[in-house]
């Protein structure tokens, strides 16, 4: 494929029917009302010269290059800011316009270095293009006068450089930061000739800039340029693919020279991101070629032995022989596997197939066990299927946005930008979170209500919200009568009306003032289209599943489900959480969320796979760990996850892994889990994979190989070879054949194929005969289960309580620049922003303990203790501390406990009783070495 270049129409498209007819350079065109002349011209192939205009930003009208003439009007208006009118006759090329444009360009070029031949953007520069387009042949003004040619460069950002000498002050970067990203980090400082782009009073790295790349993308010159382009040169070809980080699932153009990636450019037609990106997807892809990546299989008899590099054939036969031997000695159920949300649908599908058909049991689980398994349970109970109800675009029509237990600006930044844009347009915001997350108050965004609840009281809060809705008769009775089970609603309404669930009664437990809670409930129920977005702050609790059902109840009671702008939406942590769950990764479900005890479904797979399948649920991840410690579970295949770092109660996990007779790790790096492995099978990065990811809005996107697998094989091929070596032949000629098998066995995927994805770009499941183009919004006319089901949600406090020994509550989360256990992002320049995990602690709690800013503290729970440095901030309330889990050296999960969700065993990461002690150093020791000792002093600089 050659380089994919977007046709920039200059100003954004306007919604609505094309009702306004006009003529441009003699060509007739009809466009929606409000369309600019520039955009209309672009639609008929006339590209009016421009510099300050780009169709991702609102028209600005500053460069004076896009002038046009309109019959019957005086002057030469800017085509970007002039809307079309019926019957208009526009000329874009006249001698007068040509002269004016040449004059404007001459002035621009007179203050621009004429170093095109050595410039990094040579051939990819709009200023260069426009000079050609207007026919500029000479510049009459010399460089003797005042100019900006000696303006300094800012190379502080690890990924891009800012060369002020090349800036034409078009403000595209400033506007991109405001309109697209919503950070407002850039401004135009100075006036007139002194005007310049400035990241506040700092350099880029030290500023509020979140390094999303929107400014770089918007820059028409080489002023803001990727350092990889400066180093490697402009790219020559593109491959369309999907980001491998969070559950937003952004589409990117991987731009290359030969097989070398030069840059990742967000794809404007990407359904999830529509041309936007974050620091991870845009820039943090260098881990794929990191020197620590392991590319050859390795085996060892015992975990105390050194690794022995072997060929693929030996690795596969060695692994299969040991697995078969274990099953022969300990039974069929003594082995199992864990799938990964970082792998493609096709890779996950073959792993669960291997476990069920080749291993002969249902001992397959997935990392969603420790994140969104309560979503699967809760939404299936109430709506009938385990998935978010909306597409991301839906938030553009929300009037009230509720963010519960989610931190989208950190964990789902591209969606957060879209959400913030809607908030700036006037939508109301309710945030329910113990921490004052960035979305609570950020430039031009402020929550109408921040219900700062005590950790562990989610269900009490959602019940109180529902109590207000029911007792103040804010129920959408028509929706409930038409769409929901009437008896269930009556039972639930009586349950939730009990005085114990009133805001006044729950205030003592939740810490949320009753008046605020009542006001928030009224706003949600009566404020127009109300949408709920939630994250792991909902699911990772002892009542995670109950809370999900509580949210579903709330949406049904108020009729906020089944149309655009509303809904209940889990924000998935990893890129393919939705997909890995869809693919039958849970031990009780076959692909498509169908229970293994369902005879008809099981028989379908038995017929397709040619093997009898177990009708009983298999082991969940915690069961596997327990079984390993007890000696009943002997071998574990781990696909692309680092369970030794990510799963709770590290000591128990490590004990389990150490007990295994065989641990097989398929990954990019020798991660923490690999320390306990006997077989290491090198995996592929997203730049090598060939398959699909399914994002949080059920959007199935193609992941296309940008380069050949560096390890020599696709991961699905390795799995197939392992299954075959175990006596169950599994063969596919291409990953598309795996998707064909998924489609033939899974009704929600019945219409999905690689050919369709290539043609349409992406589809959202269900995609079948009834919805051949997919389903952006679910439950429109009826719920998947038929009628919506209200479920009573009693509040049962967690058993994890504070006491004199452990008086604080620890809650954990993520940070923008790092991803999950950090295996990928720690191997990129993103460490510039987050070199270590920090413990956020309230000033009062810090003062009581003698904890200093940046000082080392011991964090202890009944499970274990670890050490890290403190950051004192009132972002957390008194009594609550917070940290991230991106660095193995911190080992935040050493302190988390075995407590879990009652229905799914999703760990209770969000509530751990802890104590914090200032570390006392003996003999002048300064504590463990700091990576960047001065970074912590600023109040969380840059990328939180």
């Amino acid at each position: 494929m050659t380089l994919l270049e977007d046709h920039d129409l200059g100003t954004p498209a306007q919604p609505g029917p094309a009702t306004v007819g006009l003529e441009i350079d003699g060509l007739a065109v009809s466009v929606p009302e409000g369309t600019s002349i520039m955009h209309a011209a672009g639609l008929v192939g006339i590209d009016v010269p421009k510099l300050c205009a780009t169709d991702s930003l609102a028209a600005f009208g500053s460069c004076r290059l896009c002038l046009v003439e309109i019959d019957g009007r005086r002057g030469t208006p800017a085509s970007c800011t002039t809307p079309v009118e019926a019957g208009m006759k526009v000329s874009t090329q006249t001698p007068r316009l040509e002269k004016l444009r040449r004059g404007v360009m001459e002035l621009y070029i007179s203050d621009h270095p004429l170093d095109c031949l050595t410039c990094a953007a040579n051939g990819d520069c709009e200023l260069q293009d426009m000079a050609g387009a207007v026919g500029l042949r000479e510049v009459r003004y010399g460089y003797a006068g005042e100019n900006h040619l000696d303006a300094s460069k800012d190379e502080s950002n690890p990924y891009f450089a800012f060369d002020a000498s090349k800036c034409i002050v078009c403000s595209r970067c400033v506007r991109a930061c405001e309109e697209i990203q919503g950070t407002f980090a850039l401004t135009i400082a100075g006036r007139g000739f002194d005007s310049r782009v400035a990241p506040g009073n700092s350099n880029f790295l030290g500023s509020e800039c979140v390094s999303c790349g929107a400014c770089v993308q918007a820059c028409p010159t080489a002023t803001l340029e990727e350092k990889t382009v400066i180093t490697l040169g402009v790219p020559r070809r593109s491959v369309l693919t999907t980001c491998a980080y969070c559950g937003v699932g952004c589409s990117f153009k991987a731009e290359l020279r030969g097989d070398e990636v030069v840059r990742m450019v967000p794809y404007k037609q990407g359904g999830a991101n529509e041309g936007h990106s974050c620091v991870k997807g845009r820039f943090a892809w260098g881990y794929a070629t990191h020197k620590e990546r392991v590319l050859t299989p390795m085996v060892r008899e015992a975990i105390t032995d050194p690794w022995r590099v072997v060929g693929w054939e030996e690795a596969i036969s060695y692994t299969a022989d040991r697995l078969k031997s274990i099953q022969a000695r300990h039974g069929i159920a003594a082995i199992g596997g864990i799938t990964s949300s970082r792998c493609t649908n096709e890779e996950v599908f073959v792993v669960q197939k291997m476990v069920r058909a080749a291993f002969g049991n249902n001992n397959v689980d997935t990392c969603a066990r420790v994140c969104h398994s309560p979503t699967g349970f809760g939404l299936k109970q109430t709506f009938g299927t385990s998935a978010g109800t909306q597409d991301f675009r839906s938030v553009d029509e929300s009037d009230v946005i509720v963010v519960i237990g989610a931190n989208p600006t950190e964990a789902h930044p591209v969606f957060a930008s879209r959400m913030k844009r809607r908030l700036r347009q006037g939508a109301k915001l309710i945030v329910i979170d113990p921490r004052r997350t960035e979305i609570v108050r950020s430039p031009h965004v402020e929550a109408d209500y921040h219900l700062q609840l005590q950790p562990g009281t989610n269900v009490a809060v959602v019940n109180a919200l529902a109590h207000v809705v029911v007792t103040e008769d804010l129920v959408d009775h028509r929706f409930v009568a038409e769409r929901c089970e009437p008896e269930d609603f009556d039972t639930w309404a009586a349950f939730i009306s009990a005085q114990e669930y009133s805001p006044e009664a729950t205030e003592a437990v939740t810490g949320v003032p009753a008046a605020d809670l009542r006001a928030a409930a009224r706003l949600y129920a009566t404020g127009g289209n109300a949408a709920i977005y939630y994250g792991l702050g909902v699911t990772e609790h002892s009542q995670g599943s109950t809370m999900v059902m509580g949210l579903a109840n709330l949406s049904m009671a108020t009729g906020n489900i089944g149309r655009r702008g509303v809904g209940v939406n889990p924000l998935r942590g990893q890129n393919n959480v939705q997909g890995s769950c869809d693919m039958g990764s849970f031990p009780h479900e076959l692909p498509g969320y169908r229970h293994v005890s369902d005879d008809a479904v099981r028989h379908l797979f038995e017929e397709t796979w040619g093997r009898p399948l177990d009708k009983e649920p298999g082991l969940r991840i915690p069961n596997m760990f327990d079984g390993a410690v007890e000696g009943t579970f002997k071998a574990l295949y781990v696909q692309g996850e680092d369970i030794a770092q990510s799963d709770p109660n590290t000591h128990h996990v490590q004990a389990a892994l150490a007990h295994l007779e065989l641990c097989i790790v398929q990954d990019l790096f020798l991660n923490e889990t690999a320390k306990f492995a006997h077989v290491f099978l090198p995996g592929t990065s997203f730049l090598e994979k060939d398959g699909t990811f399914t994002n949080a809005e059920r959007r199935i996107n193609r992941v296309r190989p940008v380069m050949a697998p560096r390890n020599g094989k696709q991961e699905w091929q390795v799995v197939c070879e392992l299954a075959t070596a175990m006596g169950y032949p599994m063969h596919y000629r291409a990953s598309s054949e795996i998707m064909d098998e998924i489609a033939s066995t899974t009704p929600t995927f019945a219409g999905v194929s690689f050919a369709k994805l290539d043609a349409l770009g992406s589809v959202q499941w269900p995609c079948n005969e009834a919805a051949p183009l997919g389903t952006p919004i679910m439950h429109i006319d009826k719920f998947v289960r038929g009628k919506g089901r209200f479920v009573e949600t009693p509040f049962i406090p967690t058993d994890e309580r504070t006491n004199r020994r452990y008086p604080l509550i620890l809650t954990t989360g993520r940070i923008l620049s790092q991803y999950n256990v950090g295996a990928q992002t720690r191997r990129t320049e993103n460490v510039a922003w987050h070199p270590e995990d920090l413990l956020e602690i309230h000033p009062y709690d810090a003062d009581e303990r003698g904890v200093a800013e940046g000082g080392w503290v011991t964090l202890a729970s009944r499970s274990g203790e670890t050490e890290l440095r403190a950051h004192i901030t009132d972002r957390v309330p008194q009594g609550v501390v917070y940290t991230t889990f991106h660095h193995p050296v911190t080992g935040a999960n050493v302190v988390t406990t075995e407590y879990s969700d009652w229905a799914t065993n999703c760990p209770e990461y969000k509530v751990t009783a802890v104590q914090v002690r200032a570390r006392v150093h003996v003999g002048g020791s300064a504590g463990p070495p700091s990576v960047l000792p001065d970074r912590v002093d600023a109040d969380v600089p840059a990328l939180r």
Binding site: P617, R620, N623, P794, W902
Partner: protein, 71 residues
Amino acid sequence: MVRADLVRMANQIAANFRHHPQAQAAAEVAEHIRMFWPPLMRRELLDNVHNGGFDPLVVLAADLLAEATPA
């Protein structure tokens, strides 16, 4: 598995169905365990349920569960 974990997990399920009439709640507890717990765990529950520590609802549910659990 560790008996304390078995007791805690079973009792947690019972607590989340306790708001229903006893017979219904017991059936719901049994059904939940049947749907999500592997046979080995169910067998351990049945073997231990009368040794104390379990919520009475779990004990009732165990009777219903016995029929659906392989020996």
